[in-house]
């Protein structure tokens, strides 16, 4: 650059083709997480949904069902507070709360640090409850083996059409709070077919953590992952 007037004499334009993932750093750390999980024989599940879809309630019901068969641990992601972690702690399961300080998603670094805090615990199944948000967490790979997206009955059956990114990258679609079906205009078939249009390989399970309906199918899927 010209030192006298700051003009661009002596400089040229240079174009570089990168074709590089914006989140390459996160992807790299996620694959490290995955390696850690695999070395310890741990299956990691990333739970993604809007706030209030019943992620924590599902965890409580799942823990009650599986605690005697599979040792579990939980990483809780929330913008603030220890509330969700306390709910899990009451079940006697090791839990680490990650408060993102207002951020809308967990990333691979946060999961890596949280996983270190669980180092002394022995477990085979790790649930990572992402920050309640159906949009942002879907971009961030955490190194999980299974990505689960939840939509509850009160949210409406058109959710998959509104938030395709979450469904595109998921492995399992859980329709939660089915005990409320009689009170809401939720079309199970519509929700299912909209999600399958985006991602035909999705496994869809409808369940209620409250009544226990459908819970066994979900627990069996987890058993198959851990022991299969």
């Amino acid at each position: 650059m010209c030192e006298h007037c700051g003009c661009e004499a002596g400089l040229k334009r240079k174009e570089i083709t990168l074709e590089k993932n914006i989140l390459e750093q996160n992807e790299h750390l996620a694959s490290k997480n995955r390696k850690h999980f695999d070395e310890k024989g741990i299956v990691a599940i990333n739970l993604i949904s809007a706030p209030g879809s019943g992620k924590t309630s599902l965890l409580e019901a799942t823990i009650a069902q599986l605690r005697d068969e599979i040792p579990l641990a939980v990483i809780e992601g929330d913008p603030e507070t220890e509330r969700d972690a306390e709910r899990i702690r009451r079940q006697g399961v090791p839990v680490v709360q990650v408060t993102t300080g207002g951020a809308c998603h967990l990333d691979a670094v946060q999961v890596h640090r949280a996983f270190h805090q669980l180092e002394k615990e022995k477990f085979r199944l790790l649930f990572i409850e992402n920050v309640g948000n159906l949009l942002c967490p879907s971009a961030f790979n955490l190194g999980e083996h299974l990505r689960v997206v939840l939509v509850s009955v009160p949210e409406g059956s058109d959710k998959p059409a509104k938030y395709p990114a979450a469904f595109y990258k998921a492995d399992v679609f859980l329709i939660t709070k089915t005990d409320l079906l009689p009170y809401f205009d939720f079309d199970l078939e519509e929700a299912k077919s909209l999600a399958l249009k985006i991602n035909p390989r999705l496994r869809v399970i409808a369940l209620s953590a409250k009544s226990g309906q459908g819970l066994e199918e979900w627990c069996q899927l987890l058993r198959d992952l851990v022991f299969g």
Binding site: K12, T17, K20, L23, Q25, C136, Y168, K169, P200
Partner: protein, 115 residues
């Protein structure tokens, strides 16, 4: 609003490359996003404008965004196809597997370097 985190990550990546290349300025950034990437184009542009204000290297940078349509892969005939409605293979009528559509990519960067 994870677009802000993405802009930050992208900025770090490009700044590292700029250093390697001995670049004085970033003139142009081309990114490509898949149809199902979950990126809001306007939110990304907004976050980029905010980022530019605090990053001298990017002060004059223009941002171009390309969108990549979703493409599916048929496990039977091994061909890729772009679905108009449901992602069923037009030949085999079987559900395809997602192949393209989740991309979040820095495609090209144009720098100002010493001649």
């Amino acid at each position: 609003m994870h677009e802000a985190s993405l802009v930050m990550a992208m900025g770090e990546e490009i700044a590292r490359l700029a250093k390697e290349q001995g670049a004085k300025k970033v003139l142009r950034v081309v990114v490509s996003f898949g149809q199902w990437s979950g990126i809001e184009k306007e939110a990304f542009c907004f976050a980029f404008e905010a980022f530019k204000k605090d990053s001298p290297l990017f002060k004059e940078a223009d941002l171009e965004i390309e969108l990549i349509p979703a493409v599916y892969f048929c496990p039977l005939c091994q061909q890729e196809f772009s679905p108009e409605e449901a992602p069923l293979c037009p030949r085999c009528k079987l559900p395809g597997l997602p192949s393209k559509g989740g991309e979040l990519e820095i495609k090209k960067v144009e720098f100002l370097v010493e001649d």
